[in-house]
């Protein structure tokens, strides 16, 4: 009972703060223009300078041998300039029959080294994360991450302070985006490097925009797919004892509203969870700082 109370009260405070932030967001004029195409994979598309994107990336599943859970990463992405985007993630999760927890934060930066568009566009990604072992947001899979990480009982005992580097390669061609991410992650404690990958492709249903206003035009929808998984560790590099997932993605950009994305993910081997459902709601605030300053 004591444990339940200690988890519930911070949870309510967190929800109230979240509600206050979302109310503030809804009061501002929002639009959508730079939403990511994927849940795990990054493309070379950065946030527009001055824009703030707020997204709730959620995942739910019922892992073998564990309780069902819903985990959410609340993302604040800001375009510092044309070649640099910074993000803050706040992670939390609820595991049924266990508890609701705030599981930590991530700070990340994405930098475009080349100022022009090329056939393949690299982006350098740096992240610091301070999470506990209860985190289930699954924003990447690295090393020997398996279904057991999702099935374990909620515990904040183990702290994971990690740095993560990604090489993002991305191309746009005839409406298609194709992106490949190579991931290297290291716990700042004594542990070895872990590796992973994510690849994705997506395309809008229409390549031209219709002149009339509409919510359900083909141009507002995009279809895609992504695959991600672990590649072992420095001393055990490879596919052995790793987990992998594949999922189609449907995106609906509601004009003058949020963007909604949904993706059923399927585990591809016995180390993976059989089925996970991802969903995301994204708002973008144009020229956030200028609006705060009252500039027209």
């Amino acid at each position: 009972m004591q444990i339940m109370r200690s988890h519930t009260i911070p949870g309510i405070k967190f929800c109230l703060r979240l509600a206050a932030v979302l109310t503030f967001v809804l009061m501002l004029q929002t639009s959508l223009c730079a939403q990511e195409n994927y849940f795990v994979t990054y493309s070379h598309q950065l946030e527009e300078p001055g824009n703030l994107e707020i997204a709730a990336k959620s995942i739910t599943g019922a892992p073998k041998g564990g309780n069902p859970f819903v985990a959410t990463a609340l993302e604040f992405e800001y375009g510092i300039n044309g070649w640099w985007t910074a993000e803050l993630y706040l992670d939390g999760q609820t595991t049924f029959n266990e508890s609701t927890l705030f599981t930590g934060f991530r700070i990340e930066n994405r930098i475009r080294p080349f100022m022009r568009e090329h056939w393949i566009n690299p982006v350098l990604y740096f992240e610091f994360e301070d999470l506990n072992s209860a985190d289930k947001a699954l924003l990447e899979v690295v090393g020997h991450d398996t279904n057991e990480d999702l099935a374990g009982r909620n515990s904040r005992a183990e702290k994971e302070r990690e740095v993560e580097l990604k090489l993002i390669l991305s191309s746009n061609f005839k409406g298609w985006n194709v992106s490949e991410n190579f991931i290297a992650e290291k716990n700042l404690g004594p542990s070895s490097w872990e590796f992973g990958y994510a690849v994705g492709t997506s395309r809008p249903l229409a390549l031209k925009v219709s002149p009339r206003a509409c919510n359900f035009c083909r141009e507002n929808f995009a279809l895609g797919a992504e695959m991600y998984g672990g590649l072992g560790e420095r001393h055990s590099f490879g596919l052995s004892e790793t987990s992998h997932y594949f999922g189609p993605i449907v995106t609906w950009d509601i004009p003058a509203g949020p963007s909604v994305q949904i993706s059923p993910n399927f585990g591809l081997n016995r180390n993976s969870s059989g089925f996970l459902l991802r969903f995301m709601l994204t708002y973008e605030i144009d020229q956030f700082v200028s609006k705060l300053r009252g500039e027209q």
Partner: protein, 130 residues
């Protein structure tokens, strides 16, 4: 407090990233390759192209350049007036190149994630302003 030596290379990697970013090309209209400059607008004959481009503009560009493309001063940076002679004299190919590559150092993002026909529709709208 001593900074652990093993973290130094993370800092180094970050600084290399910054240095590469600073080494990029910030020029735009005068940097457009000749091949891109002379590209014709494939939707020039489409009567709906400018109206569709106006929709794209309102959703993605008006926050910086103004609802009527009149330009804005934001965070100490001037966002250009698109009724200017520079835009008027630019070829469709030059405008398309700028939309594709952006001018990242000057705050103009790349819109390469928009499909090509959509970018050409936006070019049609920009040309319809003159």
């Amino acid at each position: 407090m001593k900074f652990p030596a093993r973290y130094c290379w993370f800092v180094l990697l970050f600084l290399v990233g910054i240095a590469f970013a600073g080494a990029g090309d910030g020029g735009w209209l005068n940097k457009v390759p000749e091949k891109a400059r002379i590209r014709p607008n494939p939707v020039a004959d489409d009567l709906d192209a400018a109206a569709a481009g106006a929709k794209v503009y309102a959703k993605n560009c008006a926050a910086c350049h103004g609802e009527n493309a009149e330009g804005k001063l934001q965070r100490g940076h001037y966002r250009p007036n698109l009724h200017s002679n520079r835009v008027k004299q630019a070829t469709p190919g030059e405008l398309f190149w700028l939309l594709t590559n952006g001018s990242l150092r000057n705050g103009m993002p790349s819109w390469s994630h928009f499909p090509e026909p959509e970018r050409w529709q936006l070019v049609s709208y920009l040309k319809s302003l003159h």
